[in-house]
Subunit: 188 residues, 2 copies
DNA sequence: CAAAAGTGTGTACGTCTGTACATCACCGAC
DNA sequence: GTCGGTGATGTACAGACGTACACACTTTTG
């Protein structure tokens, strides 16, 4: 009978590969992401990639999984810290305007994920999950209808910031959020 | 002196290539878009692509230019048909929920464009232009601040529809649009 | 100790890629 | 007719790609 399994020499090597893959995706785009670029970035031999992963698609899926996981955490943190409706509105504005969620690099990665998800079932599922997570975080404070509307704002507005390059007008964002919340939830 | 220039055998061949490129992008994603796939789809010889375009990047740029042009037209049509504020709100809801703007295939193409734009300056500029066009179309009916908020909704909401697969709740969309407009423009 | 088993790596291979370019088909000028 | 000259194409090629796999190394087993 086989005894205790041996321990990997470098247990977090797999994680390093995934992290490196995400960086390559952000810097070059999925369309120019290759085994060799990732291996170089992660400082591991080329063979490691095929040893730990079943092809490039598996690496990309792991990278995007990491991305959505990272963002979900911050997303939930910001929203769960709010206790009143007013605070929740400010939290939403913070998500839209702030630099914590959706840094420029994360936005780039998110675009790549959305685009790639349309051609890869596993990543598409990841996108759906991410949608549900964000909606659940909002659902603590708002009705389902309001969640859908706010979610659209949270996704759409940072996209514009990404193209314009200029920071968003926080007052305007907050006013819009409050307008939606007041209307759909009923004033106060 | 050289006489009249000869006429191309197939003057709209270049257009066919661009159209085919966009289809390949939608079906396979930019990351799997190749000269050969495009040529096959357009039913032109491989050599035509290098004859008409300076590399794959140029083809992709032309394809995305075609996309944003197509969408701009419909976008403007829907918005310019409105004469009152109420009609303009319904036009915005139509853009978000309707099947004319942002068919599933167009949404996929748009994702590819946004993702690719982060790695190609020409396409990035295209994204900025598209942003300005949509904002100008809205500016006919609304203030600049309102345009920004509505634009975020118009971009963000169809993204969700894309992932959920289910059609949007038109009543909810319309109510949200009105909420934003009423608050930012002042009630009536 | 030797042997076996498992972990990790460097290299080599077949395929596919973008692109250059010699070549062809066609048309107007003479 | 012959002869450029231009639009267009099929092919060939160098390089990059994903991936398989023989091999080396380390640890456990006997």
């Amino acid at each position: 009978m086989a005894g205790r399994r041996q321990v990997a020499n470098d247990p977090d090597r797999k994680d390093r590969i995934v992290a490196a893959a995400l960086e390559v995706i952000v810097d070059h785009g999925v369309h120019k992401t290759t085994h060799r670029l990732i291996a170089e970035r992660a400082d591991v031999p080329l063979g490691s990639l095929t040893y730990y992963f079943d092809g490039l698609a598996a690496i990309l899926e792991a990278a995007f999984r990491r991305l959505s996981s990272t963002m979900s955490v911050h997303y939930r943190q910001v929203l769960s810290a709010a206790t009143t409706r007013a605070e929740a509105c400010e939290a939403v504005a913070e998500l839209i305007c702030g630099t914590g969620y959706a840094t420029p690099r994360e936005m780039t990665a998110l675009f790549e994920m959305y685009a790639y998800g349309n051609h890869d079932d596993a990543v598409r599922a990841l996108g759906r999950d991410w949608l549900l997570v964000s909606r659940e975080s909002l659902a603590v404070h708002f009705s389902e209808a309001t969640c859908r509307a706010l979610d659209a704002l949270i996704e759409g507005w940072p996209m514009h910031r990404n193209f314009e390059g200029a920071p968003l007008d926080r007052e305007l964002v907050l006013a819009t959020v409050r307008a939606v919340v007041d209307r759909l939830e009923g004033e106060e």
